[in-house]
Amino acid sequence: MTTTDPTAPVRAVSSVELDRRAFRRKQSGRSVLAGLASTLVLALLLWFFVVNTPGWAAVQQSFFDPAIVVSSFPKILEGLLLNLRVLLMASVGVAVFATLLAVVRTLRGPVFFPLRALAAAYTDLFRGMPLLIVLYLVGFGIPALGIFPRLGSEVWGTAALVLTYSAYVSEVLRAGMEAVHPSQRLAARSLGLSHAKTLRIVVIPQGVRKVTPALMNDFVSMQKDVGLISVLGAVDAVRAAQIQVSQSYNFTPYVVAGLLFVALSWPMIRLTDWYSARAQRREQIGGTV
């Protein structure tokens, strides 16, 4: 019999397995070293190339001046706080409006044709129109109508962002909802759930999960596009940097603002990558066993 006694003491690992483990350890150590070495070589090459360009001294002076970094930093950071506020408001607005648009576009039945057509036309229009132009039209056009009280330009900037990004995000959400298998709707309806409840409880949660990486990507994209509200005159990080540049005749504040935007979006970018990788790993398990 080849049965092993389940009460047997802890099994000693065979020398073959020990050798395999040693080999794998050595191999993974070697690949870490290779990665480090190639990164170092590439970084050094790039550095030497940049430093040896003829204009490097001038560029260094007008883009990377440490004194100006220190002096411009507080104002730009203050501007970035405005960007953050706009980002938060716009995110909430996009989440609500885009979901609404996506649901309207998935409505069935001839009665809803005008609504569906309107939503389709909306997404077509705002996905095609450059954000900058939407910003100008909303930021300067709507106040000129004279029916709204005087509002800050950041409010109109936020509205423009919501209008444009909702068009993109609603399409992503719609793709997610349509990717939910029809049998899920069937199962929900068979339990007696209404169309609205089926959407809310069964379809939307699963659909959102399917497109989360795409949604996070849109969020990262919006994170830097909030900088465009500066064209309406709101003193955000970009505008603050612009003011500093015009005072010092030095471009360093732009670099500072740019790096701050990178720092702002970096956690979200890493989170997106991590989440996508995890989702991919789960998909690759195969599900047969």
Partner: protein
């Protein structure tokens, strides 16, 4: 049983597959605990046992889809559990059929069957397709060669999957519960094809819940429980005169005796 294994080892040629003292656990859960098993040329070895007994995991370790914790796997005498072997080259020598067919939905039946021949074995399209058409003819599906898998029934899809696995003349064929996802009336056509493969001399290691089929086709039946081989031997012995009470209990529950 020692006797059965002893007989097998006495065969003149070395086994196509030899599994030696294999261990595998997922976290703290042991899945395989010291598996010894030989599969000889032209033989069919059938793994039986309840769900979670380690049948599928054993098949996966042989195809190097799961890394083992200890023990060795030899394919034609070569230790394929060694991390120094080229994994893809080993897999190219082994054919696998899964429970859920796993045909590529974006490729036609013919392209599914010829994919490995053309992309892995470097055979030109013309001869690869000629071989594939012969195989499809054998299973009566040559008229479906240009169709996409979703136009086929489950039984037809699974037969195409089997043909895809044997198109490259693998040294060993692994079949992992290939009828479990099929409607009962489609099981027969798939099992008939496996019987035909046996008659044509394929070397097969398979896991199944179809006891009557196991009795018919197996040269050796292996009963697994809790990652341990409780008993193995020729089908008459396992099904008609099991030596171990656990085997008797399992067979009684599956109404196989």
């Amino acid at each position: 049983m020692n006797a059965a294994r002893g007989d097998d080892r006495a065969d003149a040629t070395p086994p196509v597959l030899r599994i030696d003292n294999l261990y595998k656990s997922f976290g703290d859960t042991p899945v395989l605990q010291g598996i010894d098993l030989d599969v000889h040329r032209h033989r069919v070895v059938v793994l039986i046992g309840a769900s979670g007994s380690g049948k599928s995991t054993l098949l996966k370790t042989v195809n190097l889809l799961e890394r083992v914790d200890d023990g060795q796997i030899f394919l034609q005498g070569e230790d394929i559990s060694d991390p120094r072997v080229a994994v893809d080259a080993v897999r190219a020598r082994i054919g696998v059929v899964f429970q859920h067919f796993n045909l590529f939905p974006h490729l036609s039946v013919l392209d599914n069957v010829t994919l490995a021949s053309r992309q892995v074995h470097g055979i030109r399209r013309k001869p690869a397709e000629a071989t594939a058409m012969q195989l499809l003819q054998r299973i009566g599906l040559e008229s479906k060669a240009g169709d996409y898998p979703d136009r086929l029934s489950g039984g037809q899809q699974q037969r195409v999957a089997i043909v895809r696995a044997i198109a490259t003349n693998p040294e060993l064929l692994l079949l992992d519960e290939i009828t479990s996802a099929l409607d009962p009336q489609l099981v027969g056509e798939v099992l008939d094809l496996v019987t035909e493969l046996k008659q044509n001399g394929s070397t097969i290691l398979m896991a199944t819940h179809e006891m009557s089929f196991a009795r018919r086709v197996a040269d050796t039946v292996v009963f697994l429980k809790g990652g341990v081989i409780v008993e193995q031997g020729p089908p008459e012995q396992i099904f008609d005169d099991p030596a171990h009470p656990e085997t008797r209990e399992f067979l009684a529950r599956t109404h196989a005796t």
